[in-house]
Symmetry: C2
Subunit: 293 residues, 2 copies
């Protein structure tokens, strides 16, 4: 008999992820705020659930993929939330990027209901979600992870158990520090190169092969140079994640000068109307600071 799954939150990430679970032959109940976003999945055989509680009812594994911490709290614990429908022994897998501290508290609540919550934030963007090539960073009970790993492998190429509850979220935040500050490195390097009239494409090419090389340089550098600010990952979402970083840093008494700086420069990008652009639009801020337009 096919496993009964539920998927809640069918945004740009969740919809294709749920599609992979469906394609693998599972029965999937789906719920999301706007039913229209479920249309394609419903025509492919997914069952519409009128609430998160309804989706969770009878499901062995329940996936959530939501924007922020309050959304996950609401879907899990709010009126007609998962907690009202879930059965003991089920596993909730949260693909959202949210507070690691709050994740641990939510996991404890579910534990007392006889269920497990795994935090499983992803990286790889909408392209990774569509191609099932996501990196999935998982925190929580190792036995629950082993049980659900095959489902995660339907959606991701790199699936890693990072440690106890919250460790997936923390690993994702480490990722966000790296991508943001490295992005800033690329912005400053290219604005220096532009001001000094170097050939920017050639410069990216030469430097990508050596100690200066990074995914950000090779992938976002050319888009900065070409003024292509279409979002792979938006500045608004990056700012949400940097907020989580800085919250987790203040709780942990950490000093992160560069992460704080890049958060302020992203705020300038948002002020200039670049919130819905890709993170490479940070380059516009650096150009503006040096009158490079």
């Amino acid at each position: 008999m096919p496993t009964k799954l539920a998927f809640i939150g069918l945004g740009v990430m969740g919809e294709p992820m749920a599609g992979h679970l469906l394609a693998a032959g599972n029965t999937v109940a789906v719920h999301t705020r706007s039913k229209s976003k479920a249309t394609r999945l419903l025509t492919r055989g997914a069952r519409w659930a009128d609430s998160s509680a309804d989706a969770a009812r009878g499901a062995e594994v329940i996936f959530t993929c939501l924007p922020d911490t309050p959304d996950v709290e609401h879907v899990l614990l709010g009126e007609k939330g998962i907690i009202e429908g879930i059965s003991a022994g089920s596993v909730v897998i949260d693909h959202s990027t949210i507070s690691p501290e709050r994740t641990r508290e939510l996991a404890t609540i579910l534990f007392h209901k006889g269920c497990a919550l795994l935090d499983a934030p992803v990286s790889g963007g909408d392209l990774g979600a569509r191609n099932a090539s996501l990196a999935i960073m998982v925190g929580g009970d190792a036995k629950a992870f082993a049980r659900v790993e095959p489902y995660l492998r339907c959606m991701g190429k790199t699936v890693v158990h990072c440690g106890p509850s919250g460790a997936g979220q923390l690993t994702k935040l480490v990722n966000q520090i790296l991508v943001s500050v490295t992005n800033l490195a690329v912005c400053e390097a290219l604005s220096f190169a532009k001001k000094h009239r170097l050939n920017l494409d050639k410069t990216i090419d030469i430097l990508s092969a050596g100690a200066a090389g990074s995914w950000q340089l090779a992938n976002l550098g050319p888009r900065m140079v070409n003024g292509d600010f279409r979002p792979g990952f938006t500045i608004d979402l990056q700012q949400k994640d940097l907020r989580l970083v800085l919250e987790s840093a203040s709780d942990g008494k950490l000093s992160l000068p560069a992460a704080s700086l890049v958060q302020q420069l992203f705020a300038a990008a948002q002020a200039a109307g670049h919130g819905k652009d890709g993170t490479q639009a940070l380059y516009c801020v650096l150009e503006k600071l040096s009158s490079l337009h």
Copy 2:
């Protein structure tokens, strides 16, 4: 008849670089401050020159590899400098990382003597120098570059003509912005991970494959984790290069907030006695800021 070359400055980079030119069958005159550093090359057939002028006499191509701008000025224009021995038609190739603005002035002086100066700073460290796998970034006259390119290919794997005089230095400085700020990204990411008790080796491993990946993360990250601060490239030298970056930025009216920040944090590393350590010792400063010892 073999080409007559001269090599001035036999430090950790220059000595193996001159060795490759010798191995390729050229006659090489060498000069450096301490004659003892030339011993190996002399036993292999290099000719000792008592001064830079003496080395330059009769040489078609003269290579310099020196610590900083004043050293290049002295070797080129000072007493018994290259300028006293050089013949019209010769090419000087400067492998030092020095001021791009001063480079242009020096090139003009040589131009009026009927000679060319190519700026040709390298990246790849002492290992790259020994393995002839350096990246060599060249600025200056294109015809002079074409003429000397075969010699550069004895020493480097990537040899690129970046543009007019100074463009090699500027490209190297773009490289230094990237390596420094990306290094800081890695330091902050790992100090966040350490404070939150993530498995650091695993975290580096997971994140290296995706959008957070960089040469700095993959190569310096593990050394930070293992407390291995042996120098590939020292903080003192990195600071010299960041000084050149910030000088060239102020001349060009550029705002480089992250490059300035990392320069200040490297200053803290120097204050703590890490000047002769590798750039990965920047991690010690971030650890100290967050009491992570």
